[in-house]
C-alpha cells in the first residue's frame, strides 16, 4: 500500500488545480455549516441559560387592575409554581435636549433585590436602596443611545404628572432580548423605546394602584399544562378585566428570537448540504476521469494481484483526503465566521453575554458529513475501477455507438460550418455525457450566483416595497386608547399637516378550527392613500367594505383561503366578544404578520361605531422638528414615529447584518461556481490530451486547438447558463419558503441586474477556466503524449 499512497499523493499534486477546487468547495460547505450551526447552538444556549438564570415567566396575564389577593388565587392553581404581580405602563420619558418623545416601559420591581420572575441583570450601578422613591434602573441600550448614564436624571410623565427620577443602575431583562414595544413595531429602535424599572412603591403611588397590579407573571411545573392553567386563571381573574394572556412561546421578544434561531437551524441544513453535494459532484467528475485515464494502470495493478477492493479504496481514499483537507480549512474559517456572526447578534439582541463556544460534536459531525459526501462522490469511480478487467484494460475502450450529428443529415447546412464547428458539434454529440456534465456544472454555477445575489435583492426590494409602496405616511401618531373620528379632525388642524388618515390597530387571536394565531388587525379607510395593501407584483388590493384581507403566510398557517370564515377574539380592552369574519382576499406582506380590514368594519367588530388609535400623516417637507415640538406635550399621544427613521433604523440593523451574511454567501457561491467550471473544463481537457496533441501535430496552432475547446466550452457554457437561470430561480423559491417567519417574509424578487451579473460572472469564470486550459495546451508535450499507448 505504501507505493499506492505515493501514487495518490503525486496524482493530487499533479492535478493540483482540480484537487484545490474540491478542497475549496468542501471548505465552503464545512465553514458555512460550522458557522451557522455553531451560531445556532450558541444563540440557543445563550437564550436558554439567560431565561433560566433570570427566570423568564412561563406566562403573563394582563389585567386592568387586580388586588394582591388575586395573586394568591393564581398561585393556588394546581401546577403553578410561582406568581408575581407587577405594574407595567408605557410612559413618556423626557430627555434633555431631545424633542422627540421617548417611550419608556415602566415596570415595577421589588424595592430590594429578590430572585423574582423576569428578573433584571444589573450591568452598571446598583439596585434600588429600598427607601428612596426617585430611583430608576434603565435598560442599557436605551440609556446609551440617549447619552444617559448612572447618576443622570430623567423626567417621566405618568398620568399627566411629571416626576424626576435618578438613574441608579443600567440593566437588561430576558423579557426584552429583542427590544420592541409591540408586534407592530417589528424592529427595535433602541433610542426611542426602552425599559425603566422603578420601585414597586413608586409605581403604586404614581398610578394610584395601592396594593394592586396590572400584570401577573407565573411559572409552572409542567409547560404542557399551560393551556389548562391559563384557562383556570382566566376564570379566576375575570372580574379584574383580563386584557391579554401570553404564553412564553408567544411572548414577543421570545417569539422573534426563537424565529431567528429556527431560521439559523434551517440555514444550517440547506446551504451546507447544497455545497457538499456540489463537492461530491465535482469529485464524481474528477474521479471518473481519473479512472478512465488510469485504466491501463488499474489493469496492470490488478494483473500484479492487487485486489478489487484495494483498487477501489485507492480512489475513495483520494476523495477522503481532499475532504479532510477541506474540513480542516473549513473548521478554522467556520469557527472564525461563527464568532463574527455572534457579534452581529449583539446589535440585534440584548443579551448580558453571548456564548461563543466551540462544539466538538459540530466539528465531528461536519467532518462526518464531508466524508460521507466525499465517499458518495467517489463510490461510482471506485466501482468503475473495481470492474475493470485486467486483460481488457490493455486494449482501448470498447466502441461507443456513435451517430451522425443531426445537422449532417442536411448536407447543405453542414457544409456551411467551419472546420472548428464541425469538430465541436461532433465532439458534443458523440460525448453527450461529458457535454452534459459541463452544461450541468455551468448551470449550477449560474444558479448559485443567482442565489447569492437573491437574498440581498429580496431584502432591498422588501424594504423599498414596505416604505415606498405600503407605508406611505411621513409620520404616524399613536394613541394609547381608541378615539372617535373627531380626533382625526383635531390632528388635521395642527400646522404643517397636509393629509391625515385614521388607523385602527388592534391585537386579535384569529382562529380557524383548532388553529390560532395572535396577530394585529389593521383597520384602514377604503380610500386610504398613506397605507396600501399590495402584493409583491405591486398590484393594489382593495380592502373592501367588510371582510379580512390577510397575508398568504397567515393564510397558510391557519389553512384558510378566500371565502373561509375565521373567528376574531380581541386581545385587549374590555371587549371580549368573539366575532366571525370572512376572508376577503389573500395578499402578500413583507414585514410582520397582520391582516387588514375596513376601519368601519373593524370598529363594528369591537362594537363601536367608529374607532381609531393611530393617525397617519403626510407633512410639509422639512417640518419634522416642528411636528415633534407640536405633539410633544399633547396629552394622549403615545408615540410620534417618522417613517424615514424607521426605514433608516431597519437598514442599519437588519440591513447591516444581512449584508454581511449575503456577502459571505456570495463569496462562497463565487468560489464554488468557479471550482465547478474549472473542473469540468480541465477534466475534459485531460481526457482529450491525445486528441489535442494529434491536432497540434497535424499542424493546428495552439490558438486553433484552443479555439476548438474554447468555442466548445463557451457554447456548452451558454447552454448551461440558460439552464441555470430557471434552476437558480427554483433555489430562490425554496429559500423563500424556508426563511419566512412572523417577522418578515422574503419576497420572491430577483432584480434584472442579478441575472445580468450572474450571467456575466459565469461567462467570466468560463473564460478564466479557458485561460487555464490554454496554458495547459501550450505546455502540452506533443512528443510525450503521442508516444504513449492508448
Amino acid at each position: 500500500m505504501g507505493v499506492l499512497h505515493r501514487k495518490l499523493y503525486r496524482t493530487m499534486l499533479k492535478s493540483w488545480g482540480q484537487s484545490l477546487a474540491v478542497v475549496a468547495v468542501v471548505l465552503c460547505g464545512i465553514a458555512s455549516y460550522i458557522c451557522v450551526y455553531s451560531a445556532y447552538l450558541n444563540l440557543m444556549l445563550t437564550r436558554d441559560t439567560y431565561y433560566s438564570d433570570y427566570r423568564l415567566a412561563d406566562f403573563e396575564i394582563l389585567v386592568e387592575r387586580a388586588p394582591e389577593t388575586a395573586l394568591f388565587k393564581v398561585e393556588e392553581i394546581d401546577g403553578v409554581r410561582q406568581a408575581r404581580g407587577r405594574i407595567v405602563q408605557d410612559v413618556n420619558v423626557d430627555v434633555e435636549g431631545v424633542d422627540e418623545p421617548r417611550i419608556g416601559r415602566m415596570i415595577s420591581m421589588p424595592s430590594t433585590h429578590e430572585p423574582v420572575l423576569n428578573d433584571i441583570v444589573l450591568l452598571a450601578g446598583r439596585y434600588f436602596d429600598g427607601s428612596a422613591q426617585d430611583e430608576v434602573i434603565m435598560s442599557e441600550r436605551f440609556a446609551e443611545e440617549n447619552h444617559l448614564t448612572v447618576g443622570d436624571r430623567i423626567q417621566v410623565s405618568v398620568d399627566n404628572k411629571k416626576y424626576s427620577l435618578r438613574i441608579v443602575g443600567l440593566g437588561l431583562s430576558p423579557e426584552y432580548v429583542y427590544m420592541i414595544r409591540n408586534v407592530q413595531s417589528l424592529f427595535p429602535s433602541p433610542e426611542r423605546f426602552g425599559i425603566i424599572w422603578v420601585p414597586q412603591d413608586f409605581a403604586e403611588t404614581a398610578l394610584d394602584m395601592r396594593a394592586a397590579c396590572n400584570s401577573i407573571l407565573g411559572s409552572v411545573d409542567n409547560p404542557d399544562q399551560l393551556d389548562a392553567i391559563l384557562d383556570q386563571a382566566d376564570k379566576l381573574l375575570d372580574t379584574y378585566g383580563v386584557f391579554a394572556r401570553t404564553k412564553k412561546s408567544e411572548q414577543i421578544s421570545n417569539r422573534f428570537l426563537s424565529d431567528e434561531i429556527r431560521g439559523l437551524g434551517v440555514s444550517a441544513r440547506i446551504i451546507p448540504t447544497l455545497f457538499l453535494g456540489i463537492a461530491a459532484l465535482i469529485l464524481l467528475i474528477l474521479l471518473n476521469r481519473m479512472v478512465r485515464t488510469e485504466r491501463t494502470q488499474i489493469g496492470l495493478m490488478k494483473a500484479y494481484g492487487y485486489s478489487n477492493l484495494t483498487v477501489a479504496l485507492h480512489y475513495i481514499e483520494y476523495a477522503l483526503l481532499l475532504s479532510v483537507l477541506g474540513c480542516i480549512g473549513g473548521f478554522f474559517l467556520g469557527q472564525w465566521m461563527s464568532f463574527q456572526m455572534i457579534q452581529l447578534y449583539v446589535d440585534m439582541y440584548q443579551f448580558p453575554s453571548l456564548q461563543a463556544r466551540i462544539y466538538p460534536y459540530v466539528l465531528t459531525r461536519s467532518m462526518g458529513s464531508a466524508l460521507v459526501f466525499g465517499v458518495l462522490g467517489a463510490v461510482a469511480a471506485a466501482i468503475q475501477a473495481a470492474n475493470i478487467h485486467p486483460a481488457e484494460s490493455m486494449r482501448p475502450e470498447s466502441p461507443k455507438i456513435a451517430h451522425k450529428v443531426w445537422l449532417e443529415h442536411w448536407p447543405f447546412a453542414w457544409r456551411q460550418l467551419s472546420f472548428t464547428w464541425k469538430m465541436i458539434l461532433r465532439n458534443i454529440s458523440r460525448n453527450k455525457f461529458r457535454a452534459g456534465l459541463n452544461v450541468f456544472g455551468v448551470s449550477i454555477s449560474t444558479a448559485l450566483l443567482i442565489m447569492g445575489f437573491f437574498s440581498q435583492d429580496a431584502m432591498d426590494f422588501g424594504l423599498k416595497f414596505q416604505f415606498e409602496e405600503v407605508q406611505r405616511e411621513d409620520v404616524k401618531l399613536s394613541f394609547p386608547t381608541e378615539h372617535d373620528i373627531e380626533t382625526l379632525y383635531d390632528v388635521a388642524r395642527f400646522d404643517h399637516i397636509r393629509r391625515a388618515e385614521p388607523l385602527l390597530e388592534y391585537p386579535f387571536e384569529v382562529r380557524s378550527a383548532w388553529r390560532t394565531k395572535d396577530i394585529v388587525v389593521i383597520g384602514m379607510p377604503r380610500e386610504a392613500e398613506l397605507q396600501k395593501i399590495m402584493n409583491f407584483k405591486k398590484e393594489m388590493v382593495d380592502v373592501g367594505a367588510t371582510g379580512l384581507v390577510m397575508s398568504d403566510h397567515l393564510a397558510d398557517e391557519l389553512q384558510v383561503g378566500v371565502g373561509s370564515t375565521v373567528t376574531l377574539k380581541p386581545l385587549m380592552g374590555r371587549v371580549t366578544k368573539e366575532k366571525e369574519v370572512t376572508v376577503r382576499r389573500v395578499s402578500q406582506q413583507f414585514l410582520g404578520t397582520s391582516a387588514f380590514m375596513n376601519i368601519d368594519a373593524l370598529s363594528r367588530v369591537l362594537d363601536e361605531p367608529f374607532a381609531m388609535n393611530a393617525a397617519l400623516l403626510r407633512i410639509d417637507e422639512g417640518s419634522g422638528a416642528a411636528i415633534n415640538r407640536q405633539f410633544k406635550d399633547v396629552a394622549g399621544i403615545s408615540a410620534v414615529s417618522f417613517s424615514k427613521d424607521a426605514y433608516n433604523g431597519l437598514v442599519e440593523s437588519l440591513g447591516k447584518s444581512m449584508a454581511i451574511m449575503n456577502t459571505i454567501l456570495l463569496i462562497f457561491a463565487g468560489v464554488i461556481s468557479f471550482s465547478i467550471i474549472y473542473n469540468v473544463t480541465t477534466v475534459a481537457l485531460s481526457e482529450r490530451q491525445r486528441e489535442l496533441a494529434s491536432l497540434r501535430v497535424l499542424g493546428l496552432s495552439t490558438t486553433e486547438v484552443g479555439r476548438i475547446l474554447y468555442h466548445e466550452n463557451t457554447s456548452l457554457g451558454v447552454v448551461g447558463i440558460v439552464c441555470g437561470i430557471p434552476l437558480g430561480m427554483g433555489i430562490c423559491r425554496i429559500l423563500v419558503e424556508a426563511y419566512s417567519n412572523d417577522l418578515y417574509r422574503l419576497p420572491y424578487h430577483i432584480e434584472r441586474r442579478t441575472f445580468v451579473i450572474s450571467i456575466l460572472l459565469t461567462l467570466f469564470f468560463v473564460l478564466l477556466a479557458n485561460f487555464a486550459v490554454r496554458r495547459k495546451i501550450q505546455r502540452l508535450d506533443l512528443v510525450e503524449v503521442l508516444k504513449e499507448r492508448e
Binding site: 458523440r430 486528441e691 494529434s694 497535424l698 499542424g699 496552432s701 506533443l782 512528443v783 492508448e790
Partner: protein, 240 residues
C-alpha cells in the same frame, strides 16, 4: 527514385545537437548528427533505443527545436523557427504517422482524414486518400471498430491527404503483426512511388531497410553510416 547529384536536398542537417534538461540532469539525445535528404527519397533510419532517431525525426518534423547545429528545409533555416512558424511548417509540409495511430476516437475513418484536409492548402479528396490505403469501404467506421492495421492505414491516409512533401513515420509497424505490417508498408511505398512524397521511416526493424533508397544507421546521437540500396525490394518481398 535515384539520388541525382545535382538535385538540391530537401533537408540538410548539420551537426545537429539536442540536449534535454530534466531538472538538474542534462540528457544529450543528439550529439552532432549530419544528414541530407533528397526530394522524393525513401529513407529508413535504423538504430537501437536511445540512439536519437526519434529526436531526429521530431526535429525534422518541426515538433522540436535543436539546441545546437543547423537544420535547413529548402533553403530555410529551421533552427530559427518560432513555435508559430513550426506549426505552419507542419501544417503545410509534413505528414506524421506514429506507432500508436492517434486517431480521434469519436471521429469516423473519413472524418479523421477530413481533419487534415480541412486545414490544408491543397488537399486530396479525403475519399481518394482512403482509397490509396484501400479503406474506402470502411470510411464510416470508428477507430475502435477497425483493426490495428486498418487504424494505421487511416492514420497514413490522414497524413497523406494534405499532400505533404515529407511523410515522417515513427515505428509505423511497431504495434502490428507481420502480415498487417506488410500491408501498411505497401501503402507507404505506394505513396512514395505514385505521389512522389519524400518518406522517412524510423524503425528497429532492419528488414524494412531493404525497401529504402538509403538506410541511415544511428548510434549514440550520431549518424554512424549511410548505406545506399541499389535495388530496393517491395514490401511483400521482405523477410521480417
Amino acid at each position: 527514385m535515384s539520388t541525382g547529384a545535382i538535385q538540391e536536398p530537401i533537408f540538410e542537417l548539420d551537426e545537429v545537437q539536442k540536449v534535454y534538461h530534466m531538472g538538474e540532469v542534462s540528457v544529450p539525445a543528439l550529439r552532432g548528427a549530419s544528414l541530407a535528404v533528397m526530394p522524393g527519397e525513401f529513407l529508413v533510419i535504423l538504430g537501437p533505443s536511445g540512439s536519437g532517431k526519434s529526436t531526429l525525426l521530431n526535429i525534422v518534423g518541426g515538433l522540436d527545436a535543436p539546441t545546437g547545429g543547423r537544420v535547413r528545409f529548402k533553403n530555410q533555416d529551421m533552427t530559427a523557427f518560432t513555435e508559430a512558424q513550426r506549426t505552419q511548417y507542419r501544417r503545410n509540409n509534413i505528414g506524421f504517422v506514429f506507432q500508436f495511430y492517434n486517431l480521434m476516437p469519436n471521429l469516423t475513418a473519413l472524418e479523421n482524414v477530413e481533419l487534415s484536409t480541412e486545414i490544408s492548402k491543397r488537399p486530396m479528396d479525403p475519399l481518394e486518400a482512403l482509397r490509396l490505403v484501400h479503406l474506402e469501404e470502411r470510411k464510416d467506421h470508428f477507430p475502435s471498430q477497425l483493426s490495428g492495421g486498418e487504424q494505421q492505414r487511416v492514420a497514413i491516409a490522414r497524413a497523406v491527404a494534405k499532400q505533404p512533401e515529407i511523410l515522417l513515420c515513427d515505428e509505423p509497424t511497431g504495434a502490428l503483426d507481420i502480415s498487417t505490417g506488410k500491408v501498411v508498408l505497401q501503402a507507404l511505398g505506394a505513396i512514395n512511388e505514385r505521389v512522389g512524397t519524400t518518406l522517412i521511416i524510423i524503425t528497429h526493424n532492419v528488414s524494412i531497410g531493404e525497401m529504402a533508397n538509403r538506410v541511415v544507421r544511428m548510434m549514440d546521437g550520431h549518424v554512424r553510416d549511410i548505406h545506399v540500396n541499389e535495388s530496393p525490394k517491395s514490401a511483400d518481398e521482405l523477410d521480417w
